[in-house]
Structures are given as C-alpha cells and as structure tokens.
Symmetry: C2
Subunit: 257 residues, 2 copies
C-alpha cells in the first residue's frame, strides 16, 4: 500500500483544493449514474457533466501541485491524500440518491461553480484565469441542464414533486457551508487569486430563487446545522468514496491496474 | 416491474442490434472504470470512449426501432429486452477485468468497429450511413488510444507484459465469434445494408498483427471454443450486467428514478 502524501497548508493551495476537490468528488458521484440512468440521453448528459468536472478537477489539482512546490502531480493529489486533506463541499460527497437528488445537487453546485468561475476568470493567477475561461462555459451548461430538470420534476406528477421536495430539503442543509469564509478566502481576496466564497451568496440565492419559482417549489427553511467538508471535516460517506477511488492507486503505486 | 418487449426477428433489425448492443454493453463495461482509473487522464479517456459508444448505441437502436416498426424507442430497446434478445459480441460483456484486459478488449473491439463503420458509410440505408460517418472517426481514435497502451504495456515491465499476455490469451477466445456469418449477414449484404462480418476478418487480423508486432507480443493459438452472444446465447456474466442496467427502468416504467 502506498502511503499518503502530506499537504502544504498554504492558503492558496487550500483555496484551489476546495475548488478542485468539489469538482472531483461531485464527478465521482455523478458518474455513479453511468449505465444506470434509465434514459440513454440522460445517461449521456450526466456522463458528459462528470467528464467536464473531472477535467476541471485535473486542471485545478495540477495547478495546486505547482503552487505547492513539492512536486506532487494531479494524480497524487487526487488519489493519495488522507480524508482530512480533501477540501470539497460536503454536498458533493453525499450518496448518489435518487434522480431528484442528483438534479437538485447538480443545480446547486453548478450555480455555485458558475458564479465562481465567472469571477476566477479575472484572477491575478493567469493559469487559474485560463482554466476558469473554459470551465465557466461548461458550468453554465450544467446549470441550465439541471435547472431544466428541476422545473420538469417540480411541475410534473405528485410523485416527482414529492421526490424533488424531499431532495431540496436535504440538500438545503448543506448550502450554508458554501458561503462560509475564513482565512483562506481572505488571503485569496487580498492576493487577487479569487473571491471570498461569501461574495457568491447573494447571486447564488437570487438565481436559485428564480429556478425554484419557475419550478413552483418553495425555498426550504434554514437550519442550524453546518457542514464542514471545506475544512476537511467530512460526512461519514467520504471514507467510502475515497476507499473506492484510491484502491488501485494505493495498491499498485504508479501502476495502472 | 415492467414486462419485457418482444423483438422482431427481421434480419435488418437483428443486424443493427448486433452493432448497437455491442456498443451499448461495451460502454457499460468501460464506464465501470469511471472514478477507478488511477490516472485522471486515463479516467477521462475511458469515460470519453464509453460516452462515444453510448452515443453510437443510442443512434443505432433508435434506427433499429424505426426499422422494426413496432413503436419501440431506443430506451425500450436498451432496457426492456430479455437477455436472449441482446445481440452483442460476447467479448463486450465479459467482466471489466484489470487494465490490461480493458486495453486488449478495447483494441479488439475498436478495430472491428472501425472496419465496420468504414464499410457502413456506404450503406444503402442513408440513416445508417450517416451514423457511420460520425462513428468511424470516434472508433479510429479509440483504436489508436487502445493500441498505444497495448504497445506500452507489452514493452514495459515484466508485470505489465505478464498481464497483457494473459489478457490477450483470454480475449483471443472470443475473436472467432466476430467473423461468423449467418442469414442475418447474408440479408444485409444482399440488401446493401452492410457487409457480412466475415469480410472484416482479413483486415482485422492484419491490423491486430501489426499492433502485436509493435508491442513485441505473440499472437495466441486458436482454440476450438466458439462464443455465441451475437445469436443471443450469452455468457454467465450477461445476466448481472442487465440486472444492473435494467433495474431502474423496470422498477419505474417511463420514470427517471
């Protein structure tokens, strides 16, 4: 078994890991639909979304490795960290759930990532700005596709409405984490690397409200609960997803089996 | 549970199912790598291959439904048939195996499909010819990518060579099925729908021989065994793959859960 790598706590590295890991882990969950979506067209759409997200994760992790300066490549960062060193939003790591949950989660995450990439396009870090320029187009499409489904499900049968309401209530618990900001955000703001995620809250809520309205769905109530994946404290589901992801790399270091 | 649909035995429908099902089932197997390939770049390449194959399957099954004339759409054909009505090559349905097996299987299948699409581009069926025009470019890339890996594995470490030799010996058992021809092939040849698959044997063997040579690998010996997936008689692995694929569609007819 290959040992874990230690991660530099530098704020700019942490800032990038939050983005790259959210894309990486969300891609894992979405790709669990491959061959399981009962409509070929949607199987293709979800696979495409997962593929875009893996591409984004790869680019961001590669750049994080450069900023870290310890010679870690994107594969080592993706596969050889301990759970506490992953910095994804908790929402991304929750189990696949039913299709309604996938639609709601994708709507929430794509809206957030779209707003983030739009701002990162002006990053003082030219490499990150270039990544964002490509990613924002993909995120816009993901948001549109997921929001279209949200409207279809909200405004369709009783069963679809019941499922989407349940999914909405569950996913809503993990929204506040998106907009919490800390020293990592402050440093990124100061250096011009990127915005504090707290700045994304107002536009995110406005866009989601408009989608919910079109879907004739009510905004759930806020809860006191706060998830903490961005700080490395994950849900009980994270260990399983990492075990699956890391198995091959850890068993055959550098190999492809 | 949704009941199975009955399939028209018309030869032109059967001919298309052999192609569409081979793409569909191979895509399922390849997509089992999503999130499990220990190199992000290869995860992306395999996901892209699976996605191309699902797109090809979807187009061919849609057209098969039109030729059948019973109002079956591509989703019903993909998800609501009994095992005996799937017409894929047995090679496509074998378990994922290790990376070496994936490389060998993809090399074999992509080479076959490339040769087939090249000929289908001249099909008397304009719709099939159009599908082939797009698919042949994808298959060429799949073949090149898989063959590059075959050469790397054959010419690398003792372990990689041992694994690729084992994979080669196993996959080789399923090659003769590719080139068996029957009344379905004869009808397709006569009507101008497409070539008899037996015509693909000589060019397939020539291309594979050249790849093996570059990889410094020997061609395995032929065996008496004949697999029969193209005629609907599948290996013991087919039931499991269908159970996974069909679960949602059969449980929630027409739904997306």
């Amino acid at each position: 078994m290959q040992a874990s790598i230690a991660i530099d706590p530098k704020p700019e590295v942490q800032y990038l890991l939050r983005i790259g890991d959210t894309c990486l882990i969300l891609a894992q969950r979405i790709s669990e639909w491959s061959g399981h979506a009962p409509i070929l067209e949607e199987d293709i759409a979800l696979s495409n979304t997962a593929l875009d997200l893996i591409g984004q994760a790869r680019a961001v992790l590669m750049h994080a490795g450069q900023l870290e300066g310890r010679g870690h490549d994107e594969d080592q960062l993706a596969f050889l960290r301990d759970e506490k060193d992953y910095r994804n939003l908790t929402l991304a790591e929750l189990p696949r759930g039913d299709f309604a949950f996938t639609v709601v989660r994708n709507t929430f995450c794509a809206t957030l990532l779209k707003l983030l990439w739009e701002r990162l396009h002006d990053s003082a870090d030219a490499e990150l700005a270039a990544i964002a320029g490509k990613a924002v187009k993909e995120a816009r499409y993901h948001q549109q596709h997921a929001a279209d489904w949200m409207v279809r499900l909200g405004d369709s049968t009783d069963e679809s409405r019941r499922r989407v309401e349940r999914a909405l209530a569950e996913a809503w618990l993990y929204v506040p984490e998106m907009f919490e900001s800390d020293a990592v955000d402050a440093a990124a703001k100061t250096s011009g690397l990127g915005p504090s995620w707290s700045e994304l809250e107002a536009p995110w809520r406005a866009e989601i409200q408009s989608i919910l309205q079109e879907a004739t769905l009510a905004e759930p109530k806020a809860a006191a609960f706060r998830s903490t994946g961005k700080r490395g404290l994950h849900s009980e589901h994270m260990g399983y997803i990492l075990a699956e992801m890391q198995h091959l790399q850890r068993s055959f270091p550098g190999g492809v089996w």
